[in-house]
């Protein structure tokens, strides 16, 4: 992840310019793929719409049918997929870089499981929904993240210890989920399980609005902090010698990542492995050991939207939750990462 050849930040030499140019190029290409997927997502379904009809509806010149289909049915779902994916991609990139471990993403270290246990508890026990659910999930995510950090702390939170502690914490969170699954009615258990597998099947329009605002603010905050993240990947000593207070910077970055994760979980439940895979994929495309938050967001959005479309249309008659599709794709990828060694 951190390569010794990486140029120090602020070195405005030609390699730096080339790397920025490459990052922008990758970003443009991934966003291009995303636009195609958005058009497919808005156009394909029981009432097929041509790309022209979709474009007309988007700029406000559509007919009644396409306005309804896009504005009420497909639009919120596609937008939610893009926002959830971008949030998870950025959150994964931040956590992996701060902890300096490519496996330490919010979904592996248990932040997602904790946030979803809180959300599920709120759904089943309190009947909370919509924007209030956001608050509960945010609190749950932050509490679990603090717990994991405290348990894994030994002169900082680096290395595999945080990953394994997170696996333990997420087992506890999942056992709370197990209790919620068995204590309610079957209908509640079904709702709970659907939420748990990470699904966009029943996205709430008001939630998408809140998610849009939250994601824009938080991704903006992440991009502002990106230079500090780059410095942190060089190690605490180098970061301190460059005038950064590593611990404060880390806490702010991790808080941003946890809030991004919680927003995504509140909308769609724990969508498996997007946070894990988006950032390494983006880094691989961009190269040169860059943190690449922008490309990570775009890759996360592409993966989530693509997986949701696959889940909807790959098997006729069955709508698979998006999290099941990303899980099926992400697990082999992570095993491959492990087998390759670091």
């Amino acid at each position: 992840m951190t390569r010794p050849t990486q140029p120090a930040p602020g070195t405005h030499g030609r390699p730096h310019v080339a790397a920025v140019r490459r990052e922008l190029g990758v970003l443009a290409a991934v966003v291009g793929v995303l636009v195609v997927l958005v058009l497919v997502g808005l156009g394909v379904g029981e009432i097929p719409l041509s790309p022209l009809q979709v474009a007309a509806a988007l700029v406000g010149h559509g007919d009644t049918v396409s306005d309804f289909v896009i504005g009420q049915l497909r639009g919120p779902r596609v937008l939610a997929a893009v926002l959830v994916g971008a949030s998870l991609g950025v959150a994964g990139a931040i956590v992996q870089s701060v902890v300096r471990n490519p496996i330490a993403s919010p979904d592996v270290i248990g932040v997602t499981a904790g946030a979803s246990a809180a959300g599920l508890g709120a759904i089943v026990l309190l009947g909370v929904s919509g924007v209030a659910l956001f608050g509960v999930v945010l609190i749950g995510g932050v509490v679990v993240a603090v717990l994991i950090a405290a348990l894994a702390w030994r002169r900082g939170i680096t290395g595999n210890r945080v990953v394994l502690v997170g696996i333990g914490v997420s087992a506890m969170a999942l056992s709370a989920v197990g209790w919620l699954l068995t204590s309610g009615s079957v209908q509640q258990a079904g709702t709970a399980l659907l939420w748990l597998s990470g699904s966009l099947n029943a996205v709430d329009r008001s939630v998408v609005g809140a998610l849009l605002i939250g994601t824009v603010v938080l991704v903006g905050a992440a991009l502002v902090q990106a230079p500090r993240l780059t410095v942190l990947t060089l190690g605490d000593d180098v970061a301190a010698s460059l005038g950064l207070r590593p611990d404060r910077a880390k806490v702010l970055l991790l808080l941003t990542a946890v809030l991004l994760t919680a927003g995504a979980v509140a909308t769609a439940g724990p969508v498996a492995f997007v946070a894990l895979t988006a950032a390494p994929t983006a880094r691989r495309l961009v190269g040169a050991g860059r943190v690449a938050l922008g490309p990570a967001a775009a890759v996360g959005a592409v993966v989530t939207l693509g997986a949701d479309l696959l889940g909807q249309f790959a098997l006729p008659g069955v709508t698979l939750p998006v999290g099941v599709v990303t899980g099926a794709v992400g697990a082999p990828y992570l095993l491959w990462l492990l087998a390759r060694g670091r």
């Binding site: 210890r161 394994l164 333990g168 087992a171 258990a189 069955v318 087998a339």
Partner: protein, 344 residues
């Protein structure tokens, strides 16, 4: 699975081993007694004993004790012993203190295979679950072992645990997918899926008795070979041990035991992880004793957790798999924080 050549620790004195065994038997007997006595309906000890001694004299009490509490106690005994010994054998075979059928994904594989068997092939009953559980457990074990083997330079203890956790997460997400799309299956399996002893009959116990007993006997017999394997692959081989054969037999025993436990009671986490570590403090490094004591202490823990689940959620109950995860996950975290695990 990097070999770890260490000087063998001193064995525990025989008197302590005997004392530990007696203690374990007493604790297990107490757990069995509590499991028969405690429940949503309090029944005095005398009545319970009378109902067991004279079936047919107490209609209602007999139904509760003989039809409900006794079978779940027997299933708990078998599943607990199976999980504890499976964990002890896995920790010996992989020389990995974090190994356990749930951490390494074996339970998740067995559970997925059973769910697929029900959803696709329409199987029902523990006897039909069993072969599916064996196949699923074996495939998951092979997958994790394969990743560990092809990994560049071999996997560390941590790497193996991570590979297992990923396999477990992926397999349970597929299980969830099957259950999400099938409401009647969810209704049938939601208790089994978190790990439960409630509602078991003696038929379930009878089905898994043979594989569990075979697995336990072979595991105890494997103890001496695991002691040699603990010296490291190279040293064990130079002492004339067929390392691959020992690993293969250990793997088969694990699959047999974990598969039986899952078929009977669902995927119960962390029992196989926590118990061998606890008994090793008394038994020392000798695997023969670790395995024997695990076979006694693990069912005591499982039955204790089951009783606790009946008490804390009175008059309802908390499924045993939830209680063991709440107890076992902190043990896992404590192990990770301790210096027992290298590479952290």
């Amino acid at each position: 699975m990097r070999s770890r050549p260490v000087a063998p620790p001193a064995p525990a004195p025989v008197s302590r081993l005997v004392l530990a065994t007696v203690l374990a038997v007493v604790v297990l007997a107490a757990a069995c007694a509590l499991s028969v006595l405690v429940g949503s309906r309090p029944i005095p000890l005398g009545t319970v004993l009378d109902a067991i001694a004279h079936p047919g004299r107490h209609d209602e009490v007999g139904l509760i004790v003989l039809g409900n509490r006794l079978p779940r106690t027997v299933v708990g005994l078998l599943a607990g012993a199976a999980l504890g010994v499976a964990g002890a054998v896995m920790q010996g075979v992989t020389r990995n203190p974090l190994a356990d059928p749930s951490v390494l994904g074996v339970n998740a594989g067995a559970a997925l295979a059973v769910v697929v068997g029900i959803a696709v092939f329409g199987i029902s009953g523990t006897a039909a679950y069993l072969p599916f559980a064996f196949v699923g457990a074996a495939l998951a074990a092979l997958l994790v072992y394969g990743v560990a083997t092809v990994a560049r330079g071999g996997l560390t203890a941590v790497g193996l645990a991570l590979a297992g956790a990923v396999v477990a997460a992926a397999l349970s997400s597929v299980t969830t997918a099957v259950l999400v799309t099938n409401q009647s299956l969810l209704d049938q399996l939601r208790f089994w899926q978190v790990g439960a002893l409630a509602g078991k009959d003696l038929g379930t116990a009878a089905v898994v008795t043979v594989p569990v007993l075979v697995g336990l006997v072979v595991a105890v017999g494997l103890g001496r070979s695991l002691n040699t394997l603990a010296l490291g692959d190279e040293l064990a081989a130079s002492l004339g041990q067929r390392v691959v054969l020992v690993r293969a037999v250990g793997g088969i025993v694990t699959v047999l035991l974990a598969g039986s436990a899952v078929a009977a009671a669902g995927p119960i986490a962390f029992v196989g992880l926590a118990v061998p570590h606890a008994v090793r403090r008394l038994s020392g490094p000798d695997h023969r004793w670790t395995i024997t004591l695990s076979a006694l202490v693990a069912p005591a823990l499982l039955l204790g957790a089951d009783v606790l689940g009946r008490v804390v959620a009175y008059p309802g109950e908390l499924q045993v798999g939830i209680v063991t995860a709440l107890v076992g996950a902190p043990v896992f975290i404590a192990l990770v924080r301790s210096r027992a695990v290298r590479g952290l």
